[in-house]
């Protein structure tokens, strides 16, 4: 036992003392905050160059509506209401060369887009006002531009086109478009979080900020878990380096392979807990100052630590075993692939789980051991309604997996450590795991 402690102590000190640890400790929150800032910054950057659009309109009714709305928009909508600064580009509408385009003309217009003379061109179907068409999916208009992705011009055009066509159809049916528009205007709904009792016993309603926090806190907590699991990947390099620098056999003269592995795992758990404790207390402090301390429930932190320790043991033991099997990082890539896929699986479904934390899908996946540490904690930070048996079952499941992983990894570790040459095949691995 004491040997495990000495190994763990050395691993911990060696890692915490590195510059890389300090850098990631400081950089990670900066990156996360920086991501938000960068988005804010980029939002304000819009290309203000005037965008011209050629419209081919055989009906003769769409083009004037577009021209009128473009002029209105160029006067009213493209300036910031408070500063008066232009924030959006002007749109200028031009008539097409004829009522119906040939392919030759389409190519010519396309070339004009490529040469930046115009931004896009549009063909309107002559049937566009027919109220009852044989094929409801028939295309009413075609919009051509360099990128097929929707852009501001496209959105504006679609809006004007829809309004014009609807108004025309309503008039044709003998209805007043103004009256109808008022009647079908969208109903406004706002989504709120739940009422809660505040610290001083007062009843507090969920406001705008707490709604945002209700998304960001679970997300942040899950990201934190993800990062602390990802950090275990350093274990792989650690074992590889010891092999490459021939330290392994020196150590094996003094400790059993299992003690060596356990020492490394314990040290790694220590590093991970240290880093997360620093981040968590930082986040906790900031939430408290903002008055949302109750979003991070105390018992949540306890569960987080429990899942983190178990999760780091699971993934750490897998990474250690891979490291023991390989002689170079390049060889490790093949083994790493499936592990990474499982590790990022929760990242692909986290939003679905956050939307409905109590759904069967979310519950089931959060009880699947490799995903439990991230998803269970995500659900628990999203809602207090998760029944207590679920995190306990999650702990049981992951603990069972931890024992299995550490046991198998220990056997692979033992065989792999002094192995030279090509890394073994999967069948060999099974043999190591069973025979030891």
């Amino acid at each position: 036992m004491s040997k495990i402690f000495y190994i763990a102590k050395r691993e911990y000190r060696a890692t915490v003392r590195t510059r890389a640890f300090l850098v990631s400790l400081i950089l990670m929150p900066i990156f996360m905050a920086g991501g938000g800032l960068a988005q804010k910054f980029l939002e304000g950057r819009v290309d203000l160059e005037t965008q011209r659009m050629v419209v081919v309109d055989p009906t003769g009714k769409i083009l004037p509506a577009l021209v009128t709305d473009a002029e209105r928009r160029n006067k009213e909508d493209i300036f910031d209401s408070s500063t008066g600064r232009q924030v959006d580009p002007k749109f200028i509408i031009e008539a097409g060369p004829s009522d119906v385009l040939t392919d030759e003309q389409r190519l010519d217009l396309s070339d004009q887009v490529r040469q930046r003379r115009i931004f896009a061109f549009v063909e309107i179907n002559s049937d566009i006002f027919k109220a009852d068409r044989a094929n409801p999916h028939a295309i009413d208009a075609s919009f051509y531009s360099e990128s097929a992705v929707s852009n501001d011009l496209n959105r504006w055009f679609t809006g004007v086109l829809n309004r014009t066509v609807q108004a025309e159809k309503l008039r044709a049916a003998g209805l007043d478009p103004v009256v109808v528009n008022k009647a079908v205007a969208r109903v406004n709904i706002d989504v709120f979080g739940l009422y809660a009792r505040g610290r001083n016993g007062e009843i507090r309603k969920a406001d705008e900020v707490s709604r945002k926090a209700a998304i960001f806190v679970p997300m942040g907590v899950m990201m934190l878990m993800f990062m602390s699991l990802m950090m275990s990947q350093a274990m792989l390099q650690n074992v590889l380096e010891e092999k490459q620098q021939k330290i392994t056999e020196v150590l094996l003269g003094s400790v059993r392979p299992f003690e060596l592995m356990m020492g490394k795992l314990v040290g790694n758990v220590g590093v991970s807990v240290t880093m997360v404790a620093l981040w968590l207390s930082g986040g906790f402090y900031m939430l408290h100052r903002a008055g949302y301390g109750d979003l991070l429930r105390n018992e949540l932190i306890v569960w987080f630590l429990a899942y983190q320790i178990i999760g780091v043991l699971i993934y750490g033991s897998i990474f250690v075993a891979i490291g023991a099997l390989c002689n170079e990082l390049r060889e490790a890539q093949n083994y790493l692939m499936p592990v990474m896929l499982i590790l990022v699986l929760p990242m692909m479904v986290w939003f679905k789980v956050l939307e409905e934390p109590m759904s069967n899908f979310a519950t089931g996946l959060s009880l699947f051991p490799p995903c439990t540490p991230m998803l269970m904690i995500l659900r628990m930070s999203a809602t207090a309604a998760v029944p207590i048996w679920q995190p306990i079952a999650g702990i049981a499941g992951t603990l069972a997996m931890t024992v299995a992983c550490v046991w198998v990894a220990g056997r692979i570790f033992r065989v792999g450590l002094l192995m030279q040459g090509k890394p073994p095949k999967l069948t060999d691995l099974m043999r190591f795991a069973i025979k030891g």
């Binding site: 040997k3 060696a14 620098q245 330290i247 020196v250 003269g253 003094s254 002094l418």
Partner: protein, 303 residues
Amino acid sequence: MSAVEIQGVTKTFGTKVAVHDLSLVVPGGSVYGFIGPNGSGKSTTIRMIMRIFHPDRGQIRVLGEDATMGDAANDRIGYLPEERGLYRKMFIGELLEFCASLKGATNVKADIRRWLERLDLAGYEKKRFEALSKGMGQKVQFIASILHRPELLILDEPFSGLDPVNMEVLKDAILEVKQQGSTILFSTHDMDVAEKMCDFIFMIYNGRKVLDGTLDSIQNDYGSDTLRIRTAGNGVAYDRLPGVERVNDYGRFQELRMTRGADSQAILREIISKTKVEHFEVARPSLRDIFVRIAGPQEATHE
């Protein structure tokens, strides 16, 4: 009591037999030398004694304990593997304390200082391991293997890559450890060292034992069949002399191996008739010569 007993041990890797039906006894308190060409099974045998590898067949007892299976590291053994390295970023003092702690030894600061001084490394505690030369690093690794005062010290090629001065320093250190009562088992390619240091010499070749005993007994087995000669000129073709089987030319002198039953005086007369003899000695073969006779390619020493 014997420090190591190996009985009928065989170890194979895949289809390659690394050690075949090997038996040996390392007497307690002795200096026991392993010799043998590269890849002959020395390190495999040592690793089995260390329980890093397990034998396929046979029995191993180390310091009275059954060491055939299991992977309990033995704190009574000190081990310097052939493939050795240490954490490059750690300070020497810290590193040595760590190594000792893994063997269950604490409060070793004074010992560390003493051994560093003893091996011309005084004042290096605060230097990082990566700052040391290869020879210095090797001496630090040696210290790491003895801080816990092992009863049995196993060194796999401790002298490889050392200059003569460091070699001498390390040799004396090893003998000091022996004086404190430890049994020393080491492997080497340096036959001079083996001849001078070892109470017992053990040679393994292609995984099989070929020599085992004191230097004296081994040399006696080969008899006084060697002539050591120095002559004035170099014009003599020794290998065409009747009664000479083989010639080792060391430049300044030559070693001739006589065929069984040949007359040394007849050979001397033959040489004197051709050139001026400065030195003539009937001797037992050197360990180096015996090694080459067993393991050397036939052409290597033949003119």
